[in-house]
């Protein structure tokens, strides 16, 4: 198909969809006039029922925790998918030692200032990620957000021009184990509810005092498990892509 034909084939339905969208938007409650009721109900009940000050975390890991298990396993499946798609193909081999740069690309030496800044950021980022995960039921953040920060902390080592150190710091077998443990932990918390004689994922642990780190029952445990899963999962994806760029040769 020609370029022009393709754009026309897009433009005509796009205008139609645009008109339909504006028409349906006009039927929504006007902007800023939220009608509820679910958001208001949860905002009013998150503290009395679950002793958590983060209503979003209460929704994600408690009221609709079962959906979040599905969400976590989407991520899990995607990590497996990337690993499967990027496995060694026929006529490909892996270098025994990581080289300094990608093939056919003359990489300049990493500047000392970049190395110093990136290496200096590793420890603060690990600490920040733990803080975000552990306080997920109190303030904005949680397992998903903290996990991403954790993965970026390790990526800093690569950005500092230390790919060999990056591989040593995040051995694949450990990442695989962390990924499995994180994904399984969430489900185990669910079964713990059943063992206690309640429903799957019911918040059966003591709720504690609102605003404390050890409060809100199962929420902090689920946050830790999700943080581990997301952090190791993203690192595995980065691991695979970096290996493709630096280690795999046709």
């Amino acid at each position: 198909m020609t370029e022009r034909g393709r754009i026309w084939l897009f433009a005509v339905p796009a205008v139609a969809v645009g008109v339909l969208l504006v028409w349906s938007f006009a039927g929504l409650p006007s902007f800023g006039h939220y009608r509820g009721p679910y958001g208001n109900v949860i905002n009013a009940n998150a503290i009395p029922q679950r002793h958590t000050t983060n209503a979003v975390a209460a929704v994600n890991f408690d009221y609709r925790g079962f959906d979040t298990i599905g969400e976590e396993y989407i991520l899990f499946a995607s990590v497996i998918g990337v690993s499967a798609l990027l496995r060694l193909q026929r006529r490909e081999r892996e270098l025994p030692q990581p080289p300094d740069h990608a093939p056919r690309q003359r990489a300049p030496e990493t500047a000392d200032s970049v190395t110093v800044i990136c290496m200096g950021l590793v420890a603060p980022l690990v600490l920040l990620s733990l803080y975000i995960v552990v306080h997920g039921h109190l303030t904005p953040g949680g397992g998903f957000q903290g996990g991403v920060i954790l993965a970026s902390a390790f990526l800093m080592v690569y950005l500092a021009g230390r790919y060999v150190t990056f591989r040593q710091l995040s051995p694949k077998s450990l990442l695989d184990a962390g990924e499995g443990l994180g994904a399984g932990g969430f489900v185990l918390v669910g079964f713990a509810g059943m063992l206690a004689g309640a429903a799957f994922l019911e918040n059966v642990l003591p709720l504690g005092q609102t605003g404390k780190v050890f409060s809100a029952g199962t929420l902090p445990i689920i946050n830790l498990s999700v943080g581990l899963e997301v952090g190791t999962g993203l690192l595995l994806v980065m691991w695979e892509f970096l290996e493709q760029a630096l280690m795999v040769r046709a």
């Binding site: 370029e3 393709r6 754009i7 897009f10 796009a14 969809v17 645009g18 969208l21 504006v22 938007f25 006009a26 929504l28 006007s30 902007f31 800023g32 006039h33 939220y34 509820g36 679910y38 958001g39 208001n40 949860i42 905002n43 009013a44 998150a46 503290i47 000050t53 983060n54 209503a55 979003v56 209460a58 929704v59 994600n60 609709r64 959906d67 979040t68 969400e71 989407i74 991520l75 499946a77 995607s78 990590v79 998918g81 990337v82 798609l85 990027l86 193909q89 109190l138 303030t139 904005p140 998903f144 605003g211 993203l234 994806v237 695979e240 892509f241 493709q244 046709a250």
Partner: protein
């Protein structure tokens, strides 16, 4: 003019789709998909917005404070996670396509070989 914030979501959706249709590079295409998906974040957050409402976090606000809907925010989080996973898988596919055909242009990747 109350419809305008919603129209922004519609515009993001259509401009992302335009980028996908006219894309000449798989990586650019994945980024356009990201723009398209951003429209759903915007729409979800707009639906839950209350004029003058704060974030639904009550750590330093009194419990009765007027706060926006936490349910759509939780859905947006799910949406972001799905966006990341789809992007990662598509990037892996783009990489393998580039290895086989030597090109990232969707027009060069017509013939699929197993």
């Amino acid at each position: 003019m109350d419809v305008m914030p919603f129209v922004l979501a519609g515009w993001l959706f259509l401009i992302g789709l335009y980028g996908i249709v006219t894309s000449r590079n798989f990586i650019h295409l994945v980024m356009c998909l990201g723009v398209l998906q951003a429209s759903t974040y915007v729409l979800l957050l707009e639906i839950g917005y209350k004029a003058g409402g704060t974030a639904p976090i009550f750590f330093d606000a009194h419990p009765g404070a007027k706060a926006v809907d936490p349910v759509v925010q939780a859905l947006t989080l799910t949406d972001v996670v799905v966006g990341v996973t789809v992007a990662a898988l598509l990037m892996a596919l783009a990489l393998q396509t580039h290895k086989r055909t030597g090109s990232l242009d969707p027009a060069d990747a017509r013939i699929m070989a197993g």
